[in-house]
């Protein structure tokens, strides 16, 4: 195992809305090593995006607040950094790709200008070098005829191309950590494969660590080294990718895997998880998954499980397994 690049310890991020406090991230811990890809899996609203926005300290202001925990990046706690210091980290050391390529580019500026912005604010480059760098970035993400593309606007491009431009922006300063928030859900199947391949290649070239947020175990199987499964603001299971696929321990992980139709085998019925995810504003006592768990026991409804290591590097938060 390599050196730890990012370590999140007991992170708590709450959303203070008019209807009350929502515990969007409730005691999440995980770490990412250099060069490693961590998959953060969960359904919508489980807190995976909020976790990553917390790392960048870009929570919706003033609704989202980090109320506890530590985020240690390269041996420094990011929570102790000022906004000005954070700005030097964003885009340069940690960067992020958002889900929807159609809305993540400013429609009123040329793509050249949008790629230039992070370079300009983090590096001192003169004009000709800046232009060279932009073209280099466009080539890196395999955009054809980059010299001409510089002057074009986002609306002149297809979704797949836009997402590659977003990639070029995020990667323009060679960050140490890239957070990709469901970068391919809005793309078509073949374009999705193109983009994933591209990300993998660039990751190897740059020696970059990556957090891949997704709801799809297929993507995890394809690109991740380790996985953390999130459910209602907590990590319920985390393991190496093979370990997790071969021996899923948490009932939620098992159910989620069974719920996916598979190409390779014929299944009569998919496993389903009954009911709905709980309302994060009013969590019942006990395990958050208890109400939907097929293997629920009496104790699950009153005691909260804690994450504990079962095998080497395989942690799970379930009272039954422990």
């Amino acid at each position: 195992m390599g050196k730890k690049l990012l370590e999140v310890r007991d992170l708590k991020t709450h959303l203070f809305t008019r209807r009350g406090v929502i515990k969007a991230v409730d005691g999440v811990s995980f770490s990412v090593d250099k060069n490693e890809t961590l998959g953060l899996v969960g359904e919508s609203g489980c807190g995976k995006t909020i976790t990553c926005l917390s790392i960048l300290k870009l929570l919706p202001n003033p609704v989202g607040q980090i109320v506890g925990g530590k985020i240690i990046f390269d041996n420094v706690d990011l929570l102790s950094k000022s906004e000005k210091e954070m700005r030097k980290i964003r885009g340069r050391r940690i960067s992020m790709i958002l889900q929807d390529p159609m809305t993540s580019l400013d429609p009123l500026f040329t793509i050249g200008e949008q790629i230039a912005e992070p370079i300009r604010s983090h590096q001192n480059l003169e004009r000709t070098n800046l232009r060279k760098k932009i073209i280099e970035m466009l080539k890196l993400v395999k955009i054809s005829a980059p010299e001409a593309r510089i002057k074009e606007y986002p609306f002149q491009m297809s979704g797949g191309m836009r997402q590659r431009i977003v990639g070029a922006i995020a990667l323009s300063c060679q960050p140490d950590l890239l957070i990709a928030d469901e970068p391919t859900t809005a793309l078509d199947v073949t374009i999705q494969a193109q983009f994933m391949r591209l990300l993998k290649e660039i990751q190897q070239e740059f020696n970059m660590a990556m957090i891949m947020i997704t709801h799809d175990f297929g993507i995890v199987a394809k690109v991740c080294d380790r996985v953390a499964v999130m459910y209602s603001g907590k990590i319920v299971e985390s393991a190496g990718v093979r370990d997790l696929f071969n021996h899923p321990l948490h009932p939620y992980t098992k159910a989620l895997m069974g719920a996916l139709p598979k190409m390779e085998e014929d299944m009569e019925k998919l496993t389903t998880i009954d009911g709905q995810p709980p309302d994060l504003g009013h969590l019942p006592p006990g395990c958050n998954f208890a109400a939907r768990c097929p293997e629920v026991k009496e104790i699950c409804r009153c005691d909260s499980p804690i994450l504990s290591e079962i095998n080497d590097g395989h942690v799970v938060s379930c009272l039954r397994v422990q």
Binding site: L56, L58, N61, P62, R87, K88, I89, R90, G91, R92, S95, M96, L98, D100, T103, S104, L105, D106, P107, L108, F109, E117, P118, S121, H122, Y153, F155, Q156, V166, I169, A170
Partner: protein, 305 residues
């Protein structure tokens, strides 16, 4: 882009033509315009003479074509009260109104946009609360009351500014604030809400992820994107200001077109009323046209259409 501009200019001409037609028919649909012009004690002979003089004895379609043709070459007929061409009367009064309107517009834009932007940067913060109350109050005060209140405090009580008339810069202050008051309030609200909308978008999150400074995020990206709805409102506000100038000019005895219009209403100066409405509408439509063209320069999606 050229096609877009041509299309806009064409549409503007169509609208001006339709406005002219609308004015013509509105004036006649409710009855004989002669009723308005003539007083009760005039004789039948006076009626016939007047009718002939104004061309109202011709069939309606001829009246219409004459009217349109007249408007086209800038001939709105003669004012009944002053017995001069309407157009030259209006041209004499127009500069005063334009001066007032432009000052009011500047006043409302400068304050409205800055208060609105500051409010949007910290929703529910101190500035936002102040901005909200301010906008709500502003939109609820009829401008004639604002004018009277301003005169009462600044002209009568403290005597800082003159009560009425056109003259130096001091004369301009109270009327501009009065006229711009309402539009400033709506501009504040509009800026706030469209800024909030834009700040909520994904590409703004992306600019922050890039590590850009807050000044760049707000002034470069958010502001340019929020400009489009703000400009739309701004061009609509010119209409409100042109209309509001009638009241403001009455309160402050400002020698502009608005007062001319009120005078012509009371003296039943029928051709002059028509001319006033058409000219102000044309100014309004022209400004909307300019704003439409500006969109093209801001938004590449329109430019490359």
């Amino acid at each position: 882009m050229q096609r877009y501009i041509l299309k806009r200019i064409f549409l503007a001409f169509v609208t001006i033509y339709l406005v002219t037609t609308l004015v013509f028919f509105l004036a006649r649909i409710t009855g004989d315009p002669m009723d308005l012009i003539m007083s009760a004690e005039s004789t039948q002979k006076d009626w016939d003479m007047m009718r002939h003089q104004l061309g109202l004895d011709k069939p309606i379609y001829l009246q219409y074509t004459d009217f349109i043709a007249g408007v086209f070459i800038g001939n709105f007929g003669n004012s009944l009260r002053w017995d001069k061409p309407c157009l030259s009367l209006i041209l004499v009064h127009l500069p005063a109104t334009l001066q007032l309107t432009i000052c009011a517009l500047l006043f409302s834009w400068v304050f409205g946009i800055s208060i609105g932007t500051l409010s949007a940067m910290r929703p529910n913060g101190l500035m936002d609360r102040f901005g909200k109350i301010f906008a709500m109050l502003g939109q609820s005060m009829p401008i004639f009351w604002v004018g009277i209140l301003l005169i009462l405090t600044f002209a009568v009580r403290w005597q800082i500014f003159p009560t009425s008339g056109r003259g130096g810069l001091l004369n301009l202050v109270l009327p501009s604030i009065t006229l711009g008051w309402y539009t400033m309030a709506s501009m504040t609200r509009m800026t706030r809400s469209s800024m909030l909308d834009v700040l909520d978008m994904e590409f703004i999150k992306m600019t922050r992820i890039k590590g850009l400074s807050e000044v760049l995020v707000i002034c470069k990206h958010a502001f340019k994107n929020a400009m489009i709805p703000i400009l739309t409102l701004g061009s609509l506000q010119v209409g409100i200001l042109l209309g509001g100038s009638v009241i403001t000019e009455t309160i402050f005895s400002w020698p502009g077109m608005g007062r001319l219009m009120v005078q012509s209403v009371f003296s039943r100066d029928f051709p002059l009323i028509q001319a006033c409405v058409i000219i102000t509408s044309t100014i309004f439509i022209t400004i909307n046209l300019l704003v439409d063209i500006t969109y093209g320069y801001i938004d590449p999606r329109i430019r490359y259409q």
